[in-house]
Symmetry: C2
Subunit: 454 residues, 2 copies
């Protein structure tokens, strides 16, 4: 029969500062460049987009940054999140591994995204911002930010990729319930949207287009700001609450991870679980392996290049130094919408370039298979994104078994799958396709960057 063990932290034991890995990195990431001048951007360039406190966090050098009381307070709706020993899954895998997972699915929006949505809403609130714009693909980020802005009385307008807007009505309803306005993108509300619709009235939209629309709307309204759910330094910073809690909880469990695993879209959930343990690699000489897991269909970390590229498709955002497949790369339509992004955050990219973290890619069919086995042995249904991390846990367990070496594995259960059950339905009816990306296609997209002088 199944054995269960959760490791607790009381609210009083919740960490009161985020960990800023910029302070410890041997090589700092290259700065973002202005898309026009190609010179490093300064705070004044970002001021129309973000509140000053977030701009400061983007370049902060202190090792720890205090979590404001107003943020800690909202965190307590669901934090500290549980750390669970996966006895059931361990038994199923029958390998010499201890597996722990941090359950971020307990947040009201069902994922780790509120960890940064709440401080982003908070700092905007403190600086008198009345309205925020953002984009969302499948809707995880949009719903998390709706949850957060509502609690601070800030209006939110979400540009949701049109194909998802039509296919994922549940996420849209969540955003409406939390008071946000949701607009299918491309829309007629912005120049960017109108120009796309002129060329193609039936455009299904893309994350790149939605970013352009959200940024444009924020820039044109002096009372509004823009918010991003991954990639940027301040977003990764906020997510470190995950690993900092896990560090304390593992101490209670009298364990320490040999391997830390997170799925990878823009980098925020992976950074959240792994950076606090990387901190100990830096300062205490620990040798924990950190593995970022991306889909084979969007393999920027394993097959992309580390170079400057745009954050969006249209080319409106600053240039970021990052692992990229080229901003025109259009990832196949896998179910893990949150992992369909052409680039990676600068910090994570630099760490990977320096060999301080690892990256692996898995196909979605093996991810779903791992996810279903996890659900059946642990009782919790993972989001399609999260199943990628679980697939890598399976591989590491198999390796440990083969080598006969005991391992302790920690992974981030970044979200539950209850709003994504249609994806499981596809899996059970044999409709899950594995997409491969050809070397030629990647080369071509990267060559296009050469031509732009990037």
């Amino acid at each position: 029969m199944k054995k269960v063990k959760k490791f607790y932290l009381s609210e009083k034991e919740m960490p009161t500062a985020w960990y800023n890995i910029l302070a410890d990195m041997p090589n700092k990431p290259l700065p973002p460049l202005h898309p026009g001048t190609k010179q490093p951007i300064g705070p004044e360039d970002l001021a129309p987009l973000f509140p000053m406190e977030l701009i400061k966090q983007e370049v902060a050098t202190e090792k720890f940054i205090e979590i404001p009381e107003g943020v800690q307070n909202i965190y307590k709706i669901w934090r500290p999140s549980p750390l669970i020993r996966a006895y059931g899954f361990e038994k199923f895998l029958d390998a010499p591994v201890k597996i722990f997972y941090k359950n971020e699915g307990v947040s009201p929006a069902g994922s780790h995204k509120p960890n940064t949505a709440v401080p982003q809403a908070y700092y905007n609130y403190k600086e008198g911002v009345k309205k925020i714009t953002t984009e969302t693909g499948a809707g995880q980020w949009g719903s998390a930010l709706s949850f957060a802005t509502q609690l601070f009385g800030i209006d939110l307008e979400v540009f949701m990729v049109k194909v998802s807007y039509n296919q994922k009505p549940y996420r849209k309803s969540m955003m409406n319930t939390w008071g946000a306005k949701v607009v299918p993108s491309p829309s007629h509300l912005t120049e960017a949207g109108r120009s796309i619709l002129e060329k193609n009235p039936d455009s299904p939209g893309s994350l790149g287009i939605a970013i352009s629309e959200a940024v444009e709307m924020a820039v044109k309204d002096p009372e509004a700001r823009y918010a991003l759910g991954s990639v940027l330094n301040h977003v990764l910073l906020h997510q470190t609450i995950i690993g900092l809690e896990a560090e304390k909880q593992l101490e209670i469990a009298q364990a320490y991870p040999d391997i830390v695993i997170g799925c990878f879209g823009g980098g925020s959930n992976f950074a959240g679980i792994s950076f606090p343990f990387l901190k100990n690699n830096f300062s205490e000489g620990k040798k924990t392996r950190m593995i970022a897991v991306e889909p084979e269909s969007c393999p920027k970390l394993t097959r992309g290049q580390l170079r400057y590229d745009f954050g969006d498709t249209v080319g409106m955002t600053p240039l970021l130094y990052m692992y990229t497949l080229g901003h025109n790369f259009m990832p196949p339509k896998i179910h893990a919408g949150g992992l369909r992004y052409h680039g990676a955050g600068s910090i994570v990219s630099q760490l990977l370039g320096d060999g301080l973290i690892e990256a692996q890619a898995v196909h979605q069919s093996e991810a779903f298979q791992a996810g279903v086995n996890f659900a059946r042995t642990e009782g919790i249904i993972p989001a399609p994104e999260t199943t990628h991390a679980i697939a890598q846990v399976v591989k590491e367990a198999e390796k440990a078994k083969k080598e006969g070496i005991e391992k302790t594995i920690l992974f981030n259960f970044s979200g539950h799958g209850l709003v994504d059950m249609a994806a499981y339905d596809s899996y059970f009816s044999g409709k899950i396709e594995d997409f491969s990306v050809s070397d030629d296609m990647i080369k071509e997209n990267l060559k296009a960057l050469d031509k732009l002088g990037l």
Copy 2:
């Protein structure tokens, strides 16, 4: 800015026994009768349906019944559940009330249902049962039992009302993910199903028909048993873990409820939150009011009669002494599928008959309105069922404000609404209808019982 306070229990502080209200009731409920002989049924009548330990619990007289370690263990996947002070909602209501809610939405299935699904699976497992059958309407119970049986290695076959099977694919996928077989009912697998389909090949099904199919299949297979998600004494017993935890948590919060509120379908979530406080009314002379909240469209407690009736539509189950609208009553299709049941559990019915608890009915539009206001001020989206409890909280707060008397209110947040967002979508697009049930229709259904000599 929003203030948040959660009240913790560690796993060690989790109650280790359920509270059996049968021990304390001044008047015991009348026994269930055999549908044929109309004599009280004995354990041997129930043996084809339930494992012996559950049959014993159905008539147990001890005040506390120990929770087996194997059940406590699985409970720890999500229990103890948090008790939260609803500061945000309190501020919104601007009334002299302290509001606490017990968040049962944190379970892997998203509702309170696993509290009984787990012990039911456990006792079946201990008695060597290889397969369980059950029915489900909207899918809350079916998914909770799938979660539980999978962990004990028991096969599960769920008869899901056909109209829901087609309209609620997410719940079906959850059951599949947890390894259950889901059959749209009426089906060709049972005589009951075939007889219905012969008369009406396009029958949309009903909970009554699904119960008949599940019972028939269990009875015909000596290795199989049947499971029910509400109404029965043992189900209510298992749910008391909710109120027992809340009792301890309120002690930490230095508060005690004047009013305890739960929504009402068959009675299990209401019983779970209220019985442990009723215990203190019995033994310590406390005067807490317990309010069961049903939909206006299915008003068995407020407008039904206390008498013997069948648990299902077809008339296969034992006769239960309960508040009923008549087993042929077909509730209008409100979104709170879990509250669409013609009868109430015998214990709750007796308590209501004796004036020891109260009942109120609310319309679904006011329920959704309360639910949306709650989601926007507390950050958590309630299930359509749960919004009925919240609507009553609003009424009690308004009353306290009018009377100028301070009140402490505890309610059961029985489940989250993330798998029911289509209902919110209907609400926002103005498609929510309020159904009234005429006195004549109720009278007619109850007259039919007279004719059957019930």
